[in-house]
């Protein structure tokens, strides 16, 4: 019988012929954590008595969530990671490099890999055709030490993206729409496998956005077949040699198949305080925004900065609204600098900050005041997420965010994108 992408990759890494529901110990290709989850992983590694890591070249510690550190306690946590990486030869991705999930796809994850990360959005690398999933610090500690973990092979929900994307509609709108339909636990313990003409024609940036948010439906990972688009992306990162063709077999067994007509999707937002509280922008009453944030592992890529600059060119951010922009990685930042994108954004009134997670997780660089409303391109709008439980977070595409920053309220980008 044919296999899903998850069954193929996990079977290969366990040396056994596995199907959904089986549990196996597997070899892991890439292991990572970040400054929130890394210090606890380090202490667990020490507790187990390991002083060496099995594969330090693919063991990465990212300092991105509070980067640079806003407080001495966090500075001390960063010190722990810097020393441990230096002692063990693990890779350190320090301040200014960017968000872990973006650096993974630029420099580390390959199609067919198993990638585990101490961060729930590790599923982003699934866009390359890697089985990539988030775990807690103890699991990651064992992964660092032994390059092994245990996995239950997930059942798979296949999502066929059919139809076409209308003007003003982006990958972010598709995934918000989908999560609105299947709800925030609609894919819990499952893998989401994306296929169909819209996904085949989608660039890697769009695929990263969709895979990134698979966990917002509870999924273990979000997977795309690797193809010519994947290959061209890896070549652009100087990693063409790690390309492998990974795809689901025609006769693979799916728990469910969803045919989603993208032609009916409009610009979407997730309303406070859950991602599945989704609604088309058109149906929203006029909601004034205090802060707009463009960035993160969901939407801080070059295509995001480009569309933002196209929308903001020659315009100004509205009075009473603040616009914060954070490129997802140093590479993206440099490309945006060289192409004049950053200049356009700064001229419009944006505060452009260094690559990293920015204000997404609520520890620095734009914590909201009581009662304030933020429209963000990030992936999660839980109460308190951006550092204040009295604030309200809406999620949208970058185009919707950029245009809303000009209007001063949540606005439909089709007003400007014709």
């Amino acid at each position: 019988m044919g296999k899903t992408i998850s069954e193929k990759i996990i079977s290969k890494h366990s040396g056994r012929d596995l199907k959904a529901g089986d549990i196996a110990v597997v070899d892991v290709d890439v292991v990572m954590s970040q400054d929130g989850t890394g210090p606890l992983a380090v202490s667990q590694i020490k507790k187990m008595g390991f002083s060496r890591l099995k594969n330090p070249g693919k063991a990465i510690f990212f300092i991105d969530h509070a980067s640079p550190s806003p407080r001495r306690e966090l500075s001390n946590a960063h010190s722990v990671l810097r020393s441990f990486a230096s002692d063990t030869g693990a890779v350190l991705s320090d301040i200014g490099m960017g968000v872990c999930h973006q650096i993974l796809v630029e420099d580390f994850s390959c199609p067919g890999d198993i990638v585990i990360g101490g961060d729930s959005h590790t599923c982003t690398s699934g866009a390359l055709g890697a089985f990539a999933t988030g775990m807690g610090s103890t699991d990651i500690a064992v992964g660092y030490a032994l390059s092994k973990t245990w996995l239950m092979v997930p059942h798979t929900i296949r999502v066929n993206l059919i139809g076409k994307l209308n003007t003003g509609v982006f990958a972010k709108d598709i995934i918000i729409y989908l999560i609105g339909k299947i709800t925030s636990d609609g894919a819990t313990y499952r893998a989401l496998e994306f296929a169909g003409p819209v996904s085949e024609n989608m660039d890697m940036d769009g695929r990263f956005t969709i895979a990134n948010m698979a966990v917002e439906a509870g999924a273990k990972t979000g997977l795309f077949n690797s193809d010519e688009v994947t290959k061209a992306y890896l070549e652009s990162q100087g990693r063409g040699n790690c390309f492998r063709e990974i795809s689901a077999d025609p006769g693979a067994a799916y728990e469910k198949i969803i045919d989603m007509d993208c032609s009916v999707v409009e610009p979407m937002v997730s309303q406070p305080h859950t991602v599945d509280n989704a609604i088309p922008v058109r149906e929203l009453e006029k909601i004034r925004v205090d802060q707009v944030f463009i960035g993160t592992c969901t939407n801080g890529r070059i295509s995001d900065l480009r569309i933002a600059s196209e929308i903001l060119k020659g315009k100004k951010v509205a009075d009473g609204t603040r616009l914060i922009i954070v490129p997802a990685s140093r590479k993206i930042y440099l490309e945006a600098l060289k192409s004049g994108i950053i200049e356009t954004l700064v001229e419009s009134g944006a505060a452009v900050q260094n690559p990293g997670c920015g204000p997404c997780v609520g520890v620095h660089q734009g914590i909201l005041a009581d009662g304030e409303v933020c429209l963000s391109t990030q992936n999660r709008n839980f109460k308190g997420r951006m550092g204040n439980p009295e604030a309200f977070i809406y999620l949208s595409s970058t185009a919707t965010a950029a245009w809303s920053s000009v209007r001063g309220y949540i606005a439909d980008p089709r007003e400007v994108l014709k």
Binding site: I23, G36, T37, P39, L40, S43, Q44, K47, M48, G49, H65, A66, R71, E73, L74, N76, A77, G117, G118, D119, S120, T122, G134, M135, G136, S137, T138, D139, A141, V142, L146, W150, M152, S184, D185, T188, Y189, G218, K220, T274, V361, G362, V363, R380, F382, K383, G384, R385, G387, P389
Partner: protein, 165 residues
């Protein structure tokens, strides 16, 4: 093991950002994590947990971040077990790894009321609602996961299995 405790009941989609906000992830000191547990969801949690040490909740408990600080802060607060209609995947795994019992029972989670007194028999897989007068079966876990629990968590499990090879 038998757990005899009263219930704190919460709703659907209790997420890791309300269990322990990211602004407190600068420490893995258990007392400090416990002191901020649930503070954005329920300002009375610190008081309640003195006499109520089982959480009962709806679907998707622990959704969101991979932070192990979430189950750690709950365990350090004195909570002995969580019963939910369903758990988010990473939270479930983290809880097993650190030895916090997490029990899936949609029927029990529906029936049990805030403040009820429960007797949970982890070995026999039974939840008894003494106040409400009903008993619920907990479905058994896969063998591999039960072995991690029986070892006393994932660190001990790993250490034991490395010595063998």
């Amino acid at each position: 093991m038998i757990i005899k405790e009263k219930v704190i009941k919460y709703g659907e989609n209790v997420d890791t950002d309300v269990i322990i906000p990211a602004r407190y992830l600068n420490t893995s000191a258990e007392d400090e994590l416990a002191s901020h547990c649930f503070e954005d969801l329920d300002e009375n949690f610190r008081e309640k947990v003195k006499g109520h040490r089982v959480i009962v909740a709806g679907h998707n408990f622990g959704c969101g971040s991979s932070r192990e600080h979430a189950p750690l802060s709950i365990k350090a607060s004195g909570i002995k077990a969580i019963i939910a209609k369903s758990f988010a995947r990473i939270f479930f795994r983290n809880a097993i790894n650190i030895g916090l019992p997490v029990l899936v029972s949609p029927e029990a989670a529906d029936f049990i009321k805030d403040g009820d007194e429960l007797e949970i028999d982890l070995d026999k897989g039974k939840i008894s609602d003494i106040t409400g007068g009903r008993v619920f079966d907990i479905p058994p876990l896969p063998d591999f996961i039960q072995k991690i629990i029986d070892s006393g968590g994932y660190i001990k499990f790993t250490s034991m299995n490395i010595k063998k090879t």
